[in-house]
Subunit: 533 residues, 2 copies
């Protein structure tokens, strides 16, 4: 069961004794004391306004005819869809403040149900918020629309799930949009195949959500972001279905898939995708390298990818992130840290992996890296999936912890990190005596890389949300000022919408508005993303 006010699933949060341990170690680093803890507000204490659309706990949506799926409007479902899972969202959810609830949640059973919903929404001027796992960290699924709409329905795609067809020869599969990460991998594993797309939200995000937000995952330096893993799409728009050809490449006009990859539910609802598959790895090999500083680590990463070597894991922690990651671990000297991981898919390809491994490690040493024992390496990976659960714990202790990520060219990466650190610190000073900024490179390309920043502050309790928003905006301002992008793999949602035109310019925004007018002329699909309302 999904938590309505926290990350992930009930029962998967850290055990009390681990929380106790955390308070004494990294928690203490950030100034946390046991008495800082405030329990989250229970659902029954949250006042939910009545549904403006006439739905009640028994479900139903008056005026919507022929719908075959489920309409639910229980307090749990409305609260579950009240927000995404950004730090700001969780602060609001756990303190029960400033929340907006959908008037109903629709689980369409098929594409015709989506067409029925769109017709209903246009007729009654109701906003539809498409959602998959609901794990947006940029306000992409918030049911926050202007009062010109008569109501808001969250359209949860979870019932449109499963693998429709597998083409082993072409290593691809047609998959429904509501399929969760683990369900996808389970279905493919039975056929000896894999997708190997592991965003941190893997367990509670969907194929459709990944595509709608241009997501990236854990092994993305080898396999690429979702952008390149999609061969074809099916989309239901307010003006009918769109289906792109199942072809590996084309020069038949501009790529129509690209209109929907990253469209965040504002142009149409992605219902199916043909995904390019992998084979599961037979063996893995991982190590780590310590560098004196971030610049040396960047140099190693750049030389590796520019040599045409794409290790599945190539993640560089700056000296601050490495310090936190390895806090209290014996024998770790200060400096940046590179996680390097290779996989052997086909045993016949083992020699190629061995050669790539040797060359990558040689390049690390040439850039001044020193190999460290693999023991320190495993720790990071374990924390990766669990980390969002810890964020809830931190919020309950009054800590604001969030991430911002971007991408830039190699020639600008080191300066960008400095500028963003500076901007975040300067803003955090306004709010908090405690302030940390960590940075890692999560994805590398021949021409540049992504930079993933974590910031931590401990503002006054009542100012947590405002401080979070203020510091986040300082980070985004710094990205834009230094030529970087607002997001490398999280999307932009409502939270970044005020900055969207500053990144892209008015011509780009006009074109995106034109596409929206073509597919959603009444503007009922996810109003507020891209274009602030």
């Amino acid at each position: 069961m999904r938590k309505w006010n926290g990350w992930g699933y009930v029962g998967e949060e850290p055990a009390p004794e681990r929380i106790e341990g955390w308070r004494k170690t990294t928690g203490a680093l950030a100034g946390v004391r046991a008495e800082d803890y405030r329990p989250p507000v229970p659902l029954e204490h949250i006042p939910l306004p009545p549904s403006r659309l006439g739905s009640d706990s028994a479900g139903g949506l008056p005026g919507l005819a022929g719908f075959r799926g489920r309409i639910v409007a229980t307090p749990y479902e409305r609260a579950l869809h009240a927000a995404g899972r950004s730090t700001g969202d969780l602060i609001r959810l756990r303190t029960g403040t400033n929340l907006r609830f959908p008037d109903a949640v629709a689980y369409p059973a098929d594409e015709d149900d989506l067409l029925r919903l769109l017709e209903y929404a246009e007729r009654r001027r109701v906003a539809l918020i498409p959602t998959g796992g609901g794990s947006s960290v940029v306000g992409g699924v918030e049911p926050d629309v202007p009062p010109t709409y008569t109501g808001v329905v969250s359209v949860d795609l979870r019932d449109l799930e499963g693998v429709v067809a597998i083409d082993r020869t072409s290593r691809r599969a047609r998959v429904r949009a509501g399929t969760l990460g683990p369900d996808l991998e389970d279905a493919l594993r039975r056929e000896g195949l894999a997708f190997r797309f592991y965003p941190q939200s893997y367990a509670c995000s969907t194929v459709g959500g990944w595509i709608a937000t241009r997501a990236g995952g854990h092994f993305a330096t080898l396999h690429g972001k979702i952008d390149t893993a999609v061969e074809a799409l099916r989309v239901v728009t307010a003006r009918g279905r769109i289906e792109t050809r199942e072809v590996p490449q084309s020069a038949s006009g501009p790529d129509g898939k690209a209109w929907f990859i990253g469209s965040e539910g504002a142009l149409g609802v992605i219902t199916e995708a043909v995904l390019r598959l992998q084979v599961p790895p037979a063996r893995k090999r991982a190590t780590g390298f310590r560098f004196a500083g971030f610049a040396e680590g960047l140099e190693a990463v750049r030389r590796i990818v520019q040599a045409g070597i794409y290790p599945p894991v190539l993640r560089l922690l700056d000296e601050y992130e490495a310090m936190v990651a390895f806090w209290g671990r014996a024998g770790m000297e200060p400096g940046a840290f590179l996680h390097l991981g290779f996989e052997v898919a086909d045993p016949d390809g083992e020699r190629a992996v061995t050669v790539a491994w040797e060359e990558a490690t040689r390049l690390c040493r040439a850039a001044g890296g020193r190999e460290v024992p693999p023991a320190g390496v495993q720790a990071w990976r374990e924390g990766f999936v669990q980390q969002p659960y810890w964020r809830d714990v931190m919020i309950d202790h009054g800590l604001v912890v969030d991430t911002l990520e971007t991408a830039t060219a190699w020639s600008r990466a080191a300066a960008l990190r400095e500028a963003v650190r500076e901007a975040l610190f300067r803003r955090m000073e306004r709010w908090s005596p405690v302030a940390m900024v960590l940075c890692r490179v999560t994805h590398a390309y021949p021409d540049g890389c992504s930079l993933y920043f974590t910031f931590v502050l401990k503002p006054p309790r009542e100012a947590m949300w405002a401080a979070w928003r203020d510091v986040q905006q300082a980070g985004l301002e710094a990205f834009l000022a230094h030529g970087a992008t607002l997001s490398h793999h999280h999307g932009t949602g409502r939270d970044f919408a005020p900055f969207f035109e500053r990144e892209h310019g008015p011509g780009h925004v006009a074109a995106l508005r034109a596409l929206k007018a073509a597919f959603d002329p009444a503007g009922v699909l996810n109003p507020g993303v891209f274009f602030p309302t």
Copy 2:
């Protein structure tokens, strides 16, 4: 000097004795006799209508103010821009029939000149045909517009040329759109860099043209089509300039570059691109494999790319194309033929290339391939760049030779080849006692490949163009009927426009029209591509 009525440059055509030799060998194969030869009609015999826009041989475009570049309307310039370089275009150019001429040719000196031209075109309802090298084989640069326009100006981007800036660290360069292939490589070579993008039109096509048509080149299995080689774009539209961020990746909404890559001059004029570069190869290694049939060769190619091996050259000729390619060569048995070529960019990477070479050749043998001596391999490459010059010779001898290319999934490739062969032969029977269909795989991806068909027929002299068009359409019909795309790397232009909506559906076309309305509301940019007029 560019030929106004043929491929490429004056003086680079085959020497008379080579033409004589051709007549006796492959020409004879296709039923060519010496008396079939008809010389092309000279320019002075072509009646050019007066410019409707008031331009004359002295240049000038009345009503266009402040233009800093060149306006030319000499017979040579108007004829040079009268058509692209498809076989149908060349039949018309060499026989002087059914030609349309631009009323003037504009060579803008900068982006402001483009804005001036767009303002002039909107005000006077003049169509603008952006062009780079003019080598479109799909009617992409034909000055053929409806009579509702008061005239047509070809906008030749050749004066917007050169490398603006090189970022060695990030291996990228900002390049002006009118830069020709050889000029780009020369400029990069001086800095120890390369782009290594080699379409057959390399010597007479431009960076902007490659991007506008989603072109692909000779080494594209390793380096990808132009789609993936563009980091950022600058475009002048009728509603101002668009400049995308110089970032390696993003999740800040849909990818705006993708609106213009493949937009064929109908949405805006690409003026600059930031290109992702390579380093020039230090060493090359090539061989060839003979397979009993096309299916075995396909299997080898598929297994190579699915093993994550991307040789720069991985080109499979079917048994018919191999027969023609190696005609008269001793010791070549019937069957399909795979060209396999590797490059060592950095000597430090030599071992990786050696391992990839060994694994690729092992996969070839496992699929039943037999390695043949490299002597037979070189021949193909020499012919590649020269081949379009030969097409002029063939047309002058009454032969219709053209190509059609597409892409499909691996699971459909063999059946698609059969279906297209069948469709082409059936249609050629209507026109010609001589008929050949050759096929090769030019680009391979993990999920599929491109198929490149060459067809040869010898219709009655006066029916050459009609026969060409009829057979071409049969091929396109077969592509669409079997789920393939209209083009993998040539674009669609005016010639394929009648088929465009059948590939993509009305929703896609409506969205593309919406983008056009946003960027070019008066519809002055390249009218007739995508949407038949």
